[in-house]
């Protein structure tokens, strides 16, 4: 038995993988950006050697794939070197996205768990609702998001809530599916045990179904929180895309600013990483509290 170590369990493995990705990224950048340089040279009627192309592929203004250092420079400039209240600060935009993500995730978790509870306990809901929950997820949200926004606006709801609603719409589903499975996962023997106590449905829920569902719930929440983030970003488009990471992405895309797109992308990914890790840490805590036998 060895005690956990930050260096061995986190920094080294993650660092290795990240380094590998960065290496691949550089190679891809050279490969993808080179044709443009050759083209330029061809139009200018000059020959260009590979050693000349190489540095240029890493310093283009609108690269097909910006080199990592370009993105990190941009990230540095837009996070550390800008005041966080500035509209050019990625932290400011991240915060806007984060707030609707968290609200949407919270609402989605509550809704998903509530639906799962209903489905597990009421046969009517199980049979009538589940097919329609599934159907609801196959409705492309981005398609009806503008209508949702318009309708919510019409009844006077604006600001954070419409975006959070879209984020909720996407994130409640994994929770509902996973939680339904989880709430149904207790051993038949344990359900029988509760029956012999003539435990009420709510007692069976709190004392048996819910604890048994925890591994499913934690896994679902990890998926849901990253989907919630995607939802919040998607939701920023039809809300006028005025601010937030989604707006940055859109603007970056609109103006062909690949470096800006990639830095917003990385920021979003980092945000998701943090959120998923948080859920993971909480999940591990709960597991330990619940006395799960370590593997």
């Amino acid at each position: 038995m060895t005690s956990p170590s930050l260096l061995r369990d986190k920094i080294l493995p993650i660092g290795t993988v990240v380094l590998a990705i960065i290496a691949i990224w550089y190679l891809a950048a050279v490969y993808l950006n080179a044709p443009f340089e050759r083209d330029q040279a061809e139009r200018a009627g000059t020959e260009i050697s590979f050693s000349e192309i190489l540095p240029r592929t890493m310093a283009q203004e609108r690269p097909v794939l910006p080199a990592p250092h370009q993105v990190f420079t941009e990230l540095w400039e837009t996070t550390v070197e800008k005041k966080i209240t500035s509209k050019r600060s990625l932290i400011y935009h991240s915060w806007i996205t984060l707030s609707s993500t968290l609200l949407g995730f919270a609402m989605g978790t509550v809704l998903g768990v509530a639906l799962a509870v209903g489905i597990v306990h009421f046969q009517t809901l199980d049979r009538s609702l589940m097919p329609w929950i599934i159907t609801s997820q196959t409705i492309p949200i981005l398609a009806i998001a503008p209508m949702i926004i318009v309708v919510l606006n019409a009844v006077g709801i604006s600001g954070l809530l419409p975006k959070a609603t879209i984020s909720m719409y996407l994130s409640f589903f994994p929770i509902a599916v996973g939680m339904t499975k989880g709430l149904r996962s207790p051993e038949v023997m344990h359900l029988d045990l509760m029956r012999t106590y003539s435990a009420s449905a709510s007692q069976t829920f709190w004392k048996l179904r819910l604890p048994a569902a925890v591994p499913f719930l934690v896994t679902s929440m990890k998926v849901a929180i990253s989907i919630a983030l995607v939802g919040a970003i998607v939701g920023e488009l039809p809300t006028g895309a005025v601010a937030g990471l989604g707006a940055r992405l859109l603007a970056g895309s609109y103006y062909g600013q690949t470096v800006q797109i990639w830095s917003a992308l990385l920021m979003a990914a980092a945000l998701a990483g943090i959120l998923v890790s948080l859920v993971d840490i909480i999940g591990a805590r709960v597991n330990r509290r619940m006395g799960v036998k370590p593997a």
Partner: protein, 289 residues
């Protein structure tokens, strides 16, 4: 007051009552049970649609906001060929290819990563990141890399479906009981034998979770990705174009196709799940329970 609306509400209440009654029935005959299982959601849906029709008519909701179901149905019938072409482009090509690859890569990554704790500790957190790459940002990049046609949409679907599969497979592989693992140890089973004979079967409930979530996610992903550049066919293209043209009935007709396709594929996966994980306690209800 409001005629159509009231009628719809009444219909809805009546349908709900019938459903409650149906759900309470415990027929001895299994085929009757199966029939009831079909009737209930259908009735629920019918009630929902009636309510919708009633609301749109009763309150004269402008059709550019929300068309009545009858109008949508008319559109489905008159534009079936367009809907079919879109379905082929988006579903049969992008969604299926992306779904298979995304789930496959997520699964294989989980298996590979499972072999080495070092890799697991490194890859999973980075996998989290990939998952959260917002589709809004990824889609234009994929169009840039893979072109306008369905390949770029499939790539977006791969990115979206990869993580749920990875996370669920990893969680599932960890879900084996310690006694069963000891059992395989006593057989000096190889890693692969333990994997295939014990840990994968035990992980199936989790894996099916991911397959289900991904089946709807893939459809959303492909459709949204088409907002960012496509040839002029596809469900996402149709939706965004027709919204701009104020043909909202066509939008809903496309949504209907999406919902139908999504529900059917979900249903298929649920059937497969039942067949593969029949042993899971969630399917082992006693008759009386």
């Amino acid at each position: 007051m409001n005629g159509p609306f009231l009628t719809a509400i009444l219909f809805w209440l009546a349908a709900w009552a019938v459903n409650v009654w149906l759900a309470r029935l415990k027929p001895k005959n299994p085929s009757v049970t199966r029939l009831i299982n079909v009737i209930i959601p259908v009735l629920f849906g019918a009630a929902l649609i009636a309510l919708w029709e009633g609301v749109t008519r009763g309150f004269n909701v402008p059709s550019v906001l929300l068309p009545a179901p009858s109008m949508i149905w008319g559109r489905i019938l008159s534009s079936a060929h367009i809907l079919w072409a879109d379905f082929q482009q988006t579903y049969l090509k992008a969604v299926i290819a992306g779904y298979v690859m995304g789930c496959g890569i997520g699964f294989i990554t989980a298996i590979l990563v499972d072999r080495s704790p070092f890799l697991r500790k490194g890859v999973i957190p980075v996998g989290n990141l990939v998952a959260a790459l917002p589709i809004v940002g990824v889609a234009p990049i994929m169009v840039m890399w893979f072109g306008f046609d369905w390949q770029s949409k499939a790539a977006v679907v791969v990115v979206m479906t990869f993580f749920p599969m990875l996370v669920n497979t990893v969680a599932g592989l960890a879900a084996t009981g310690s006694m069963e693992r000891d059992l395989m140890r006593t057989y000096a089973a190889t890693r692969w034998q333990t994997l295939f004979k014990l840990r994968l079967p035990a992980a199936m409930p989790f894996i099916f979770n991911a397959l289900k979530i991904n089946s709807t996610l893939a459809l959303i992903g492909a459709i949204v990705a088409e907002f960012f550049g496509t040839p002029i066919v596809g469900m996402g293209f149709r939706i965004s174009t027709e919204v701009g043209r104020m043909n909202v009935d066509m939008v809903w007709a496309t949504i209907f196709v999406a919902a139908l396709a999504g529900s059917l594929s979900y249903g298929l996966i649920a059937l497969a799940e039942r067949a593969v994980t029949f042993w899971h306690p969630s399917y082992r209800r006693r008759a009386g329970a």
